[in-house]
């Protein structure tokens, strides 16, 4: 590339160096400048890495300082109180925590079996030419913004449930002794169950793509050996692939759970915003994120704002723990795969 003229190393490194190379003194200067630039760049990247750490600590510190007034007023009772009354400035987090946990549980209960079965289909049954297109379609589902799920849930899915699934549940499971209270009440359309179902659709791609990846990472020798002793496809998946991929699958499920717990828009549209704990999954409720999204800009008074930030802090702590466990498990399986 370079002309055949003789050049020293520094000249090759920098065009300016080539210009200045005539004089030894200026060359030393160029070298100094290079050394300085090198050190500066190194510290710059290091500072950026620290900025990421700073970001997370900033989130934690600002949430704690914002939540302090509410936590000081209500103490630990904030976690177990069911009251939510902006007029008398009396707040409790329990209904929101309950809604967050319940909707996420519904989502995981549905998304995990379905996601695992899709991963089973993609890795063992699907013809090779179909694998990529289906995989991409599932991943596109993950890219759709949550507000789209929200608007779709509100205008299409909730009315549909109101007319079909919910009356069906009320008329069948609603009469079974023992679990009847779970399915009591009128079919509102919106409510905990609807929010849970929407969340299930949202996290399905996460469960699927991670399960597919860890299923793919199972050494073929193991599967071939199982087939060799006469296992059926299902037995290979059930007794060889699943046990081998267990840790990774659990990591993926925790990751999906983290998403479901913190999801805001998809839930806010269809949850119904009722600060109470109902036995029925058909009843409207609220989640932490939906409460914050709905009430934060309209919150009057410091204590109200602070109570909402305290809710955010609780959400952050819960998701932090769930995500940390997920990362730890996924890291373990990554190490094993190597």
């Amino acid at each position: 590339m370079e002309p055949a003229r003789r050049r020293s190393v520094v000249d090759l490194a920098l065009p300016q160096g080539a210009l200045a190379s005539a004089h030894a003194g200026t060359r030393a200067k160029v070298l100094d400048r290079l050394r300085l630039g090198d050190t500066a760049f190194r510290y710059l990247t290091r500072a950026a890495a620290f900025a990421v750490l700073l970001l997370l600590s900033g989130v934690i510190v600002s949430l704690i300082s914002g939540a302090l007034p509410a936590l000081r007023t209500f103490g630990l009772g904030f976690l177990i109180s069911q009251r939510w009354n902006p007029v008398t400035d009396n707040f409790g987090a329990l209904p929101a925590i309950y809604g967050t946990v319940l909707t996420s549980a519904i989502a995981i209960l549905i998304a995990v079996p379905v996601g695992l079965m899709i991963a089973f289909f993609l890795t063992e049954l699907c013809p090779p030419w179909l694998r990529r297109p289906i995989g991409i379609a599932i991943e596109l589902l993950a890219g759709i913004p949550s507000i789209i799920y929200g608007i779709w849930g509100l205008f299409v899915f909730a009315p549909f449930l109101q007319e079909t699934l919910q009356p069906f549940l009320i008329n069948t499971l609603g009469n079974v002794p023992g679990i009847a209270p779970l399915f009591a009440g009128p079919p509102y359309g919106i409510g905990m169950l609807t929010a849970g179902l929407i969340l299930a659709i949202m996290v399905l791609p996460f469960v699927t793509s991670i399960s597919r990846d860890v299923f793919d990472a199972v050494p073929p020798v193991l599967k071939e050996a199982a087939y060799g002793v006469g296992c059926t496809t299902w037995e290979v998946v059930r007794y060889v692939v699943l046990p081998y991929a267990r840790v990774g699958v659990i990591g993926g499920v925790m990751l999906a759970l983290g998403r479901a717990l913190g999801e805001t828009m998809a839930v806010t549209f269809v949850i119904g915003n009722a600060h109470r704990i109902s036995a029925s999954v058909l009843a409207p409720g609220t989640t932490i994120s939906a409460t914050i999204a709905n009430e934060f800009t309209e919150a009057v008074g410091d204590l109200y704002t602070s109570a909402l930030i305290a809710l955010g802090l609780i959400l952050f702590v819960i998701t932090f723990i769930v995500l940390a466990v997920a990362r730890y498990l996924l890291l373990r399986i990554e190490r094993r795969i190597g």
Partner: protein, 294 residues
């Protein structure tokens, strides 16, 4: 593991029955797997279908040339579209350099040191942290001290979401650059920083661009962090120091309103966002595919 396998041939008759049962279970599992896949894909089709149906019926040139209307009047989505573009641009301008530099440190300078391990873990947490919490954070550090909502705060909130995506892809892509390239550059006397900028970055360029595209796709539909940072603005405004309209927030407001015109505009806005996000992810995907083949 083998001990748990239900494979024990005893007598001819029993083993034939057992074989039939195993065969039946296998068929059931396969049908369920097929059904689950059909369900997943069907759902995607259903959502996209109703989105196209509802969105296209309200789509017209008006949407791109007029401001958001008061209830009952006709109008478009020009100000939220411009607002969204500005917020996204601001977020990318702030988040990308920080993300790339941090990723560079992790892959080039401190690949094996402790700081990198900690940052990687924290970054993964940030990557999936609830975005509404990011909104609260920016509210606390920017909106409350400044005393008013602003487009700037919205852009910074989105930047907080951009950084982890860019850090992750930059680190991954730089790690894939073969060390022999770096060694070759060092052997002719290239300083470390120039090795990184002229060799590593160039080799990893497609992947790093993909990371930025994915980050844009991620933030372009984000609503929660904007609700109490950039808020909303019914009028034309490009002032970053004032509340600013954005597509997701306008969709949120219009969809939950009782007015038919507003709801129809919300669907159209949702369609625009979805098409933009899908286009971005497909571009990102093909970029990766190209860089893999070349």
């Amino acid at each position: 593991m083998l001990a748990t396998l239900p494979v024990t041939a005893i007598s001819g008759k029993a083993s034939a029955a057992r074989y039939a049962a195993r065969h039946r279970n296998n068929v059931i599992a396969m049908v369920l797997a097929l059904g689950a896949t059909a369900l997943g894909l069907g759902w995607l089709a259903l959502i996209l279908g109703s989105l196209l149906w509802q969105g296209f019926s309200g789509l017209s040139l008006r949407v791109f040339t007029q401001m958001t209307p008061p209830p009952g009047a006709s109008g478009g989505l020009l100000n939220p579209i411009i607002g969204s573009l500005m917020l996204t641009g601001l977020a990318v301008a702030i988040g990308t350099p920080i993300g790339i530099l941090a990723g560079t440190y992790m892959a080039e300078y401190g690949r094996y040191d402790r700081l990198t391990k900690v940052v990687r873990f924290i970054n993964d947490i940030l990557l999936s942290a609830p975005s509404i919490v990011v909104g609260l954070f920016i509210y606390e550090v920017m909106v409350a001290p400044m005393g008013h909502f602003s487009g700037l705060a919205g852009g910074v909130a989105l930047a907080v979401l951009v950084i982890p995506v860019v850090v992750r892809t930059t680190e991954d892509m730089l790690t894939l650059v073969p060390n022999s390239l770096r060694e070759a550059a060092t052997s002719i006397g290239l300083p470390r920083s120039l090795t990184i900028m002229r060799i590593s970055y160039r080799a990893a360029r497609a992947g790093m661009v993909t990371g930025v595209l994915l980050a844009v796709a991620r933030i372009s539909g984000e609503t929660a962090p904007l609700l109490f940072t950039s808020l909303n603005n019914q009028f034309w405004s490009t002032n970053l120091n004032a509340p600013m309209a954005s597509l997701p927030v306008v969709i949120f407001q219009f969809a939950l309103s009782p007015y038919k015109d507003w709801q129809s505009l919300a669907w159209t806005g949702a369609l625009i966002i979805t098409l933009a996000v899908l286009a971005l992810s497909i571009t990102a995907r093909s970029l990766v595919a190209v860089s893999k083949t070349s």
